[in-house]
């Protein structure tokens, strides 16, 4: 078991290095650099001498290979560098944004699971009835709706409804406060985006629950259980659901890893100061150091979530053993 974990983590090393190389190359393929952006984005003067000084200061004039090796070496020594944009350590930059993103991701996951598993199960049990059709429609609509559009619409709706009802538009607060500091303020900020993200997430999960349930319900042992006259309830809970959960768990895990990507757009809509928005800022500012750090973070989250999913899988299904 521990051997397996170590092995999996070692396996992630080439992935990390590959991701590092890819983001490194990609960022340097983008024309221009952070110096012309920071010196020129105001629309005024871009003094060539200042650009040169800035490039020198940020080490952008070093040979590519030197920059890349520096980058790798700094990660080996667990020094992730400082943001080229703000001058703050990237750990600092990321730590400031992580709580919002994590909170939304977790809340979205909870919302998704709470909606998806019961509805997916019902849909499978009532296959091809109008109930099933409605649930499926709702689920697929969740995947089909652009999440930013849903976000915009829900925000506008909140503003308009409160305006019509009270004569004064209400909008969620703009600056994030941690839950333990001010739970109400925190939730009023986070709830809307969490629901927006969670809906899409629940849609994916619901579909998977339904098809996994359908598959399990057709297995011989369920038929046997049914023919023995066991209560439907027991069959569903004890036999079917437990087995159907396996692929659902995988999906939840994988989707969780992808959630950071989904947050990119949602955080823009709701002006949340999270990882996704930071990602877009870093790419657009061509802040190579920060972008690299964020990619590494996402890759690590991806690797770890996949590992956790596999371990969970084994825990749920004792037949799976690691060798």
């Amino acid at each position: 078991m521990y051997r397996y974990i170590v092995k999996r983590l070692l396996l992630a090393v080439p992935t990390l290095v590959g991701a590092a190389a890819l983001v490194f190359v990609l960022m340097r393929l983008i024309p221009g650099d952070i110096c012309v952006i920071r010196l020129g984005s105001g629309g005024a003067h871009v003094d060539p001498a200042s650009v040169e000084a800035c490039r020198q200061e940020l080490g952008l004039n070093d040979p590519m290979i030197v920059q890349f090796l520096d980058f790798l070496w700094s990660y080996i020594t667990l020094d992730f560098g400082t943001s080229m944009w703000s001058g703050h350590p990237v750990t600092h930059e990321i730590a400031a944004r992580l709580p919002v993103s994590l909170q939304i991701a977790l809340m979205a996951t909870v919302i998704a699971v709470l909606i998806a598993i019961p509805l997916g199960t019902i849909s499978a049990l009532k296959e091809n009835t109008w109930l099933d059709h409605i649930v499926r429609m709702v689920a697929i609509a969740g995947i089909a709706t652009p999440s930013f559009w849903l976000g915009i619409m829900s925000l506008v709706l909140v503003l308009d409804i409160t305006y019509l009802a009270t004569g004064k538009a209400w909008m969620p607060p703009i600056d994030y406060v941690p839950f333990w500091q001010d739970p109400i303020r925190n939730l009023s900020i986070v709830l809307l985006p969490a629901i927006t993200v969670g809906y899409r997430y629940s849609a994916v999960t619901m579909r998977m629950t339904r098809s996994a349930m359908l598959e399990v319900l057709r297995e011989d042992y369920i038929r046997t259980a049914r023919s023995k006259g066991l209560l439907e309830q027991i069959i569903v809970n004890r036999h079917a659901l437990k087995n159907a959960l396996l692929p659902v768990v995988t999906l939840i895990g994988i989707e969780f890893a992808f959630l950071i990507g989904g947050l990119v757009v949602t955080e823009q809509v709701f002006n949340l100061n999270g990882i996704g928005r930071l990602f877009v800022q870093a790419v657009q500012n061509q802040d190579n150091v920060l972008t690299q750090a964020l990619v590494m973070l996402v890759v690590v989250i991806f690797v770890v979530t996949n590992l956790v999913v596999d371990l969970l899988y084994a825990w749920l299904d004792p037949r799976i053993r690691f060798s």
Partner: protein, 303 residues
């Protein structure tokens, strides 16, 4: 070698009658419609969108790129059934032409990403060894990048425009396809007809393309339907971040950019209709793809 009349063994082999051919295509379609009402609904939407995209010139009442400063941000009326946008362009016309853009972007990205992923996935499974190892690591790397971030970087490198947007969406789709295909191709690789093909001295290209690819194509086709939807949504997201298809090209995602948020309260029709168009189209494609899977998957077919 010369061959003469049928021999003893040959005669012995002719024991069974030739079996009947399978049902006709129309019969299959009819059966699909009966069993999959949702899928049929989805198919209908897709067909309508296709029709709109193909015959945009005849359907659209206005030039979708023509600015009309005398009719800016007009609410839906008989002259402009879905209203006009901030530059006075007819929203209905832009939606109709936008269907073309959406389908071109969606299908080209999905098919290109799918096709490259298919060939790479199958090749990886076929050749095995270091190629496969390398391929898997590359897949891991690409998969770990959120789709929108990878697309964002690609657009930043190459710039916007329909072609570059397609490219930006295609690249992240390749590993998603490659991974699924590789898994099924690994199974196919172990099937003796691949060995038979090798023993017959066929080239790698022929074995991969003619013997392995066609046999992993069924799950792949269903995955493609999901990709088309994903590509359309990715285009919309890229546009939202300002890096999708650019003005004045009529595109749904683009119609949601800027105007959608800016005028969401004062001129909601600008934001609502393109969003609905995206939602309906992706919904249609997904419903159809899902039902197709249900119809094809033998595990789900027996009822």
């Amino acid at each position: 070698m010369t061959i003469v009349a049928p021999n003893r063994a040959a005669v012995a082999g002719l024991v069974e009658e030739l079996p009947e051919r399978k049902r006709s295509l129309a019969g299959v379609a009819l059966n699909f419609c009966r069993r999959q009402p949702l899928g049929t609904f989805g198919l209908a939407i897709v067909v309508i969108m296709f029709a709109a995209g193909i015959s945009a010139e005849w359907i659209a009442p206005y030039d979708p790129e023509e600015n009309d400063f005398s009719a800016m941000m007009e609410a839906p009326s008989w002259a402009h059934v879905l209203g006009t946008d901030q530059l006075g362009r007819d929203i209905f016309s832009r939606l109709v032409y936008g269907a073309r853009t959406a389908l071109i972007v969606g299908f080209s990205a999905a098919f290109m990403g799918g096709a490259i992923g298919l060939v790479l996935g199958v090749s990886s499974a076929y050749f095995g060894g270091w190629f496969d190892l390398l391929f898997q690591r590359v897949l891991d790397v690409l998969m770990a990048f959120p789709l929108i971030i990878l697309a964002l970087a690609v657009v930043a490198v190459f710039g916007t425009g329909v072609f570059n947007v397609i490219l930006a969406i295609t690249i992240p789709l390749i590993p998603r396809c490659g991974r699924v295909v590789r898994a099924s191709a690994l199974a196919v690789r172990e099937i003796p007809y691949v060995d038979a093909a090798r023993a017959l001295g066929f080239g790698h290209a022929r074995i991969v393309l003619r013997h392995m690819v066609p046999n992993v194509v069924a799950p792949f086709l269903i995955m493609l339907s999901a990709f088309v939807g994903q590509a359309i949504l990715a285009e919309a997201s890229l546009s939202y971040l300002g890096l999708g298809v650019q003005e004045p090209v009529p595109a749904w995602g683009l119609m949601l950019q800027g105007g959608a948020e800016e005028y969401a309260t004062t001129a909601p029709w600008i934001a609502v209709f393109p969003g609905l168009a995206i939602m309906l189209t992706v919904l249609g494609i997904s419903l159809f793809g899902d039902s197709l899977r249900d119809a094809i998957d033998p595990k789900l077919r027996d009822r």
